[in-house]
Symmetry: C2
Subunit: 291 residues, 2 copies
C-alpha cells in the first residue's frame, strides 16, 4: 500500500494533510439531479461530479460540462438501470452488447444481474462507447468512476476499469477498504504503483440514513483522517420527478437526495471544512500532477 | 368524402350528432406529462391518449395502460426529438435506421429534417418496432397517431402510416382539412372507403396561445360542428422538469401544457360538454364498430 500512504506527498502536500474530494454522483440521471448538482457545484461545497452518459438528461449535464472545461467533471460509467419506471438502454445497440441488457432491452436492474449475465467483452465495448460519447458532447473528463460500484464487483470487471483509466489517462475512483468490506477480494494483484487509490471513501448507507444523514456527514467531516478521501453524495430535489423515479425504493430516494443537497449547500458544511482544516482537492488536480 | 360525412351514421349515431374525442398527446414524454395525463384521464374530461414509445418515461405510461386494458390508449408514433437538452433515440439501433438520426444518434429535431433525411424504409422499420415494443410492455393499443403530425408531412410517409393502420387493424388520426391547410396535398389518392377520417381536428396553435388558451378551448367546444371531431391537447404540469424540457421553446411549453391541464380538468369544461350535447367517443369504440 505504499502507493496510497504516500499519495498525499506525491500530490505535494504535507503527510498529515486531510485532502478531500466532495463528489456528486449521478449527474445526468434526471432533471432534478442536474439542477441540484449544478447548484451544489456552483454555490455549495461540492467540487466534483460525474455524468451518466446513457440517461435521458445526459445532454443537459454535458452542455454544463462543455461550458466549464476546467470543472472537475468525469464519466460515471454506467452498467445498471435500477429504477422501476424510468429506465435506460446502453449506448450501443442491444444486439451489440446482448449480455448487458434485460428482456426489455434496458440495462440490468441490479449489480447481481450484471454479475450473472455480463461478459467482460460487452462491458469493455459499452464503456468505451460511453467515454467516447461524453467526449463527443464536449465533456473534458477529469476522471472515471462507476455507477453502483459495479466495476469493482468482481476482479474481471476491475481489470476493464483499470485498463480504461490507463488508456485514457484518467484517474478512477478506487478504495481498497471499500472493496474488501463490500466485495471481499484483494485488489493488489490488479493494481500497479501508478494507479491512484483514495485512502478513505465515505458514502451514506441505509443505516446512516436511518440514523440521520446530516449527523453522518457532520461526523464524517469532523473525524476525517489524513490522506486522500472522497465523500460521495447524490444531490437532487425531493420533487415529483425524483419521487417518481425512486418509487418503491426506500433508500437513495428523493428525500435522501434532498438531504445530500441540503447539507452540502449549508453554511455549516463550509464552516466545518474550514474549521477542520480540510483541503479540498479535485480529480483534475490529481490528474495534472500524477498522470 | 362519403366516408367522412357518413361516418357518424356508420358509428350508429344520428347524423346531426356531435361526436368528440378529447385526446392527450405525448403520454410517456416526461414524468410531468405522465402525472398530468393520468389525472386528466381519471378525473378530467380527457378520454383518450397516446404513448411515445422511445421516451424515457415510456415504461411508466405503459404500466398505466397495461393496468387499464380498456382505456383508450394508442401509440403516438414518434420520429422527432425536438427539445434542446432532453432527447431520445429510435428504438432500433442507429445503424439499422441511419436516415432517422442526427449526428448524435438522436432522432431529428424537426419534421423538416425528417423530410430531408428519412427514408420510407427506415420509417417503416422503426414504427413497427415502436408498435411491437408497446405491445410487449402490455399496451393494448386502441389507435395510432403521429407525433408532430410527421406521418402526414408527405404522401410517402402517409402510405406507411396507412399501411400500419390496416395491418394492425388500428384506426389512425387523419383529417383532410388539416393536411390540405398545413401540408397542401390531397389525400384522396391514398385512402380507401375503409379508412376512418375525423371530420374536424382541433389543436391549439401559437396564435390561440397568444389570444388565450382557455378562450380557444371554450369556443371550440361551444362551436363544435356535427360529425366526428378530435381535440388534441398536451397536459403537463408547469414544473421544473417540464420547464427544463421546453427551454427556449416559446410554444407547446410548460405553461401551455398547464393551461391544457387546467381547462380539461375544470368543471366548466365538463359543463360545456354537457350543455352543448357533445357525445364523447373513443378510438376503442370506433375500432370495435368499424375494424
Amino acid at each position: 500500500m505504499k502507493e496510497s500512504t504516500n499519495l498525499v506527498e506525491r500530490l505535494g502536500y504535507a503527510k498529515t494533510q486531510k485532502l478531500l474530494i466532495i463528489h456528486a454522483d449521478d449527474f445526468g440521471l434526471a432533471q432534478s439531479e442536474n439542477a441540484a448538482t449544478i447548484t451544489t457545484l456552483e454555490t455549495g461545497s461540492v467540487n466534483s461530479a460525474s455524468i451518466m452518459v446513457p440517461c435521458a438528461w445526459f445532454p443537459e449535464s454535458a452542455a454544463h460540462a462543455k461550458a466549464r472545461p476546467n470543472a472537475d467533471i468525469g464519466i460515471h460509467l454506467t452498467l445498471t438501470s435500477e429504477w422501476k419506471h424510468y429506465r435506460w438502454r446502453p449506448i450501443l445497440a442491444a444486439h451489440e452488447v446482448p449480455s448487458l441488457v434485460d428482456e426489455q432491452g434496458f440495462m440490468h436492474d441490479s449489480v447481481a444481474n450484471l454479475i450473472r449475465y455480463a461478459t467482460v467483452e460487452d462491458i469493455e465495448k459499452e464503456l468505451r462507447a460511453q467515454i467516447e460519447r461524453g467526449i463527443q458532447f464536449g465533456i473534458t473528463p477529469s476522471h472515471l468512476d462507476s455507477h453502483m460500484f459495479s466495476l469493482v464487483a468482481k476482479p474481471q470487471f476491475l481489470t476493464v476499469y483499470l485498463m480504461l483509466s490507463r488508456e485514457y489517462k484518467l484517474p478512477l475512483l478506487l478504495n481498497q477498504d471499500f472493496i474488501r468490506r463490500t466485495v471481499g477480494y484483494d485488489i493488489h494483484p490488479y493494481i500497479t504503483s501508478q494507479d491512484v487509490l483514495v485512502d478513505h471513501l465515505y458514502s451514506a448507507e441505509p443505516n446512516d440514513y436511518e440514523a440521520g444523514m446530516l449527523a453522518f456527514y457532520k461526523q464524517t467531516l469532523q473525524n476525517l483522517s489524513p490522506g486522500l478521501s472522497e465523500i460521495i453524495l447524490h444531490p437532487a430535489y425531493n420533487n415529483s420527478e425524483m419521487q417518481a423515479i425512486t418509487t418503491e425504493h426506500p433508500y437513495w430516494a428523493a428525500d435522501w437526495r434532498q438531504y445530500d443537497f441540503d447539507f452540502f449547500t449549508s453554511a455549516e458544511c463550509a464552516e466545518i471544512i474550514q474549521k477542520e482544516q480540510i483541503q479540498l482537492i479535485t480529480w483534475r488536480e490529481i490528474r495534472e500532477k500524477l498522470f
